[in-house]
């Protein structure tokens, strides 16, 4: 990992998201290091999934930027979704052209093509397609998809298809679903569906994978397996993992850095150990009383200040 220098893979800067009168995200700032396993936690309604949707391009952020390090160049993931057009850009044709281009052809698929894959809180598999077909669809952008070569089954097309099938089998093996290759995704048991969704996201060949509550509905044994799988993805397949999770045991076990959100703001950022002892986090989870009566004597409130942690 030579690229693991100072530049973070993902840098969220001043991200705000407004739904009508509700400010769901208020000036969010955090970094995701290359090759790290990070978690995002927070009470229900804190805006975790909203951040996720902004990163993966499903929501257009109201303001702010998300800088994604793609090789040597940096992409602003907010920009590729197509920002609003204003009259002021008429004077700046280059800006106008780029905005027009992204307005017409931009979208969340560009974020995914840049290398950010994701899974969903409520599983979104292609239910009436087989498990292996799910993984083949995920490789859509990497294989020969010229319709003419497909209709005539040219050698190049056959090779590319066979390679895709082999890759799909490899991923099924990684997540332990090789026996379910030819079963419909919708008929698989819940735990298998979760793993298949991760395999599908990984089949796109991402640099970063965002897992939205991957352990929801899994039993302790399955959660343990999932933790191992996440580590394996990072260690052997060199992806950066960002996950939202409510299972604190798993979060503390697997993640290297944690971002805590509450009411649309980052209230803490740090290693699991730091977060465990953070008063602001404890207050957010256990109520204000807790912080004043029990946790205050510790005097670790400084970490709770978002400005300090983020500007460092």
């Amino acid at each position: 990992m030579t690229t693991e220098t100072e530049t973070p893979l993902l840098a969220v800067r001043n991200l705000s998201m407004r739904f009508g009168g509700i400010l769901a995200l208020n000036n969010i700032n955090f970094d995701i290091k290359q090759g790290s396993i990070s978690a995002m936690i927070g009470p229900n309604g804190a805006g975790k999934t909203t951040v996720f949707n902004c990163i993966t391009g499903f929501y257009q952020a109201t303001s702010g930027s998300i800088y994604y390090q793609d090789g040597d160049s940096t992409i602003n993931l907010v920009q590729v979704l197509g920002e609003k057009l204003h009259f002021k850009y008429v004077l700046n044709p280059r800006q106008l052209a780029s905005r027009l281009y992204y307005k017409m052809f931009g979208g969340s698929h560009l974020v995914a093509q840049a290398g950010v894959a994701r899974t969903f809180q409520n599983i979104r598999l292609f239910r009436e397609m087989t498990a292996i077909e799910n993984l083949l669809v995920a490789q859509h952008m990497q294989i020969v998809r010229n319709p003419i070569s497909g209709v005539f089954k040219t050698p190049a097309f056959r090779r590319s298809e066979q390679a895709a099938i082999d890759r799909a089998h490899t991923w099924l093996e990684v997540v332990g679903l090789e026996d379910d290759a030819n079963r419909l995704a919708g008929e698989l048991p819940y735990g298998h569906q979760r793993r298949l969704e991760i395999a599908r996201a990984m089949s796109t060949g991402p640099k970063m994978i965002c897992l939205d509550e991957p352990a929801a509905g899994l039993n302790p044994k399955e959660t343990e397996e999932l933790s191992n799988l996440i580590r394996l993805l990072r260690d052997q397949h060199h992806v950066t993992v960002l996950l939202i999770e409510h299972d604190m045991g798993m979060v503390m076990d697997v993640s290297e850095s944690i971002v805590v959100l509450d009411h649309g703001e980052v209230i803490a950022e740090g290693t699991p150990h730091e977060i465990e002892n953070n008063t602001a986090v404890l207050a957010a989870y256990l109520g204000e009383d807790y912080s004043t009566t029990v946790a205050a004597p510790d005097g670790t409130g400084a970490e709770g200040n978002p400005q300090e942690t983020n500007n460092s």
Partner: protein, 425 residues
């Protein structure tokens, strides 16, 4: 003995009683009271007998449905054995490779056996097969409800008529142009509606279908409006199938020194159309196994997931629309050449509804199902010509029964199975 115990006679009797009562209510006024001159004659014994017959029949059906065999039969009809989709087994049937060549051979021999009337019926059926295959791409595979599919059919038909009228082009030159032209119209429709889903998309496409028809109807100077336009028949290497050459070639029968028969033209159209249909089936089958077809199906299943995988839903939807339109345009072209004359009244909403019915009844996404449904829905009304007045009624009843028993269509979709790792197909 055990069989006897399971059948509840009480339930069967109740079923029979209610059916009989319903029959009495329905048939009572219809056949019980006979209007003669100014008097109403009372013949209530007739509906009573009918009701008894219906009630008795229902009783027997109810008894049968409760038996083991009946249960299995009903379950089979209702498609309760698993969902609508299954995965094919890797093992091929013994005669599977034989079926397709035999069918093709039979199809090629068919026109020489049939009379002219039935030949025209079969040609029309094949046109609907083509339309069904095309709409199946849009509705069955990509999951976009298109109620204006007839627009592309019209574009194809009018391309032939207008191209022949204004540019003096022949059938074969216009065949690819009609397909491409319809595909371009598909793109034209596709662009504004790409961000729509389900019902909204259906309404917009419905509007588009009507717009095309109204434009054709009102562009009097160009299309001839309701007066229609004539379309040229196809030629065989310059040989024409009319009694006298109209397109500057030699009539077919004169070249071969045989007597003229209008059937030749239909035989030729049939053979060309049959070839095109076979090619199209091959094309659609291949499409399903290609990244493009897989992306369509994935889009039908979950658009958001598709986007999260880097698939541009706009181009995928557009490609489905264009591909569907292209097939529809080709079908329209054959319709025009087979009729020899077209006018906008052939391209009403009813046609769109019929094509959609073909796709839905056949089983969304199933090629074989769509072919069977297209053949049944076009040939059945011809067979039922004797019951002319009840045709639409029977059609409706058949559809209701289908939707109750086989909501997922005639043919259950079988997904392709992939070999295990390391085994190349």
């Amino acid at each position: 003995m055990s069989l006897q115990q399971k059948i509840s006679l009480r339930k069967a009797l109740i079923d029979g009683f209610w059916s009989g009562l319903l029959a009495l209510v329905i048939f009572g006024p219809i056949s019980g009271l006979v209007l003669q001159g100014y008097e109403v004659r009372n013949e209530l014994i007739r509906p009573l007998l009918m009701a008894l017959l219906v009630g008795g029949g229902r009783f027997l059906v109810s008894c049968f449905a409760q038996s083991e065999k009946g249960k299995r039969y009903v379950d089979g009809l209702a498609g309760k054995r698993g969902a609508g989709v299954t995965v094919a087994s890797l093992k091929k049937g013994k005669y599977q490779y034989l079926v397709i060549p035999v069918l093709i051979l039979a199809g090629l021999c068919l026109p020489f056996v049939l009379g002219k009337y039935w030949l025209t019926v079969v040609i029309l059926a094949l046109i609907y097969v083509l339309l069904g295959l095309g709409l199946n791409i849009v509705v069955g595979l990509a999951g976009m409800l298109d109620l204006g599919y007839v627009a592309f059919y019209a574009v194809g038909a009018y391309t032939l008529a207008m191209g022949a009228q204004y540019f003096h082009l022949g059938f074969w030159t216009l065949l690819p142009i009609a397909g491409i032209g319809a595909a371009l119209f598909g793109a034209l429709l596709g662009f504004p509606v790409l961000r729509m889903h389900g019902d909204y998309l259906a309404i917009v496409t419905l509007g588009f279908g009507e717009i095309i028809r109204l434009v054709l109807n009102n562009l009097l100077d160009i299309t001839g409006g309701p007066n229609g336009a004539s379309a040229p028949p196809p030629t065989l290497f310059g040989l024409e199938f009319t009694r006298r050459a109209k397109q500057g070639g030699i009539p077919f029968h004169e070249y071969f020194h045989i007597s003229y028969s209008p059937t030749y033209k239909y035989i030729f159209i049939y053979l060309v159309l049959f070839t095109i249909v076979c090619l199209m089936i091959l094309f659609v089958t291949r499409l399903k196994q290609m990244p493009m077809g897989r992306a369509w199906e994935a889009l039908r299943e979950d658009e958001i997931a598709c986007r999260s995988l880097g698939i541009n839903h706009v181009t995928v939807k557009l490609s489905a629309f264009m591909m569907g339109a292209m097939v529809g345009g080709t079908a329209g072209m054959f319709f025009a050449t087979y009729q020899g004359f077209i006018n906008p009244s052939s391209f009403t909403f009813f046609e769109s509804a019929l094509i959609l019915a073909i796709v839905v009844l056949g089983g969304l996404g199933s090629t074989v199902g769509v072919i069977i449904a297209a053949l049944v829905l076009t040939i059945l009304p011809e067979v039922l010509r004797d019951f002319a007045e009840y045709r639409v009624l029977m059609f409706g009843i058949a559809m209701v029964l289908m939707m109750v028993w086989k909501p997922r269509g005639l043919i259950r979709i079988k997904r392709r199975a992939f070999n295990a790792k390391g085994v190349t197909s």
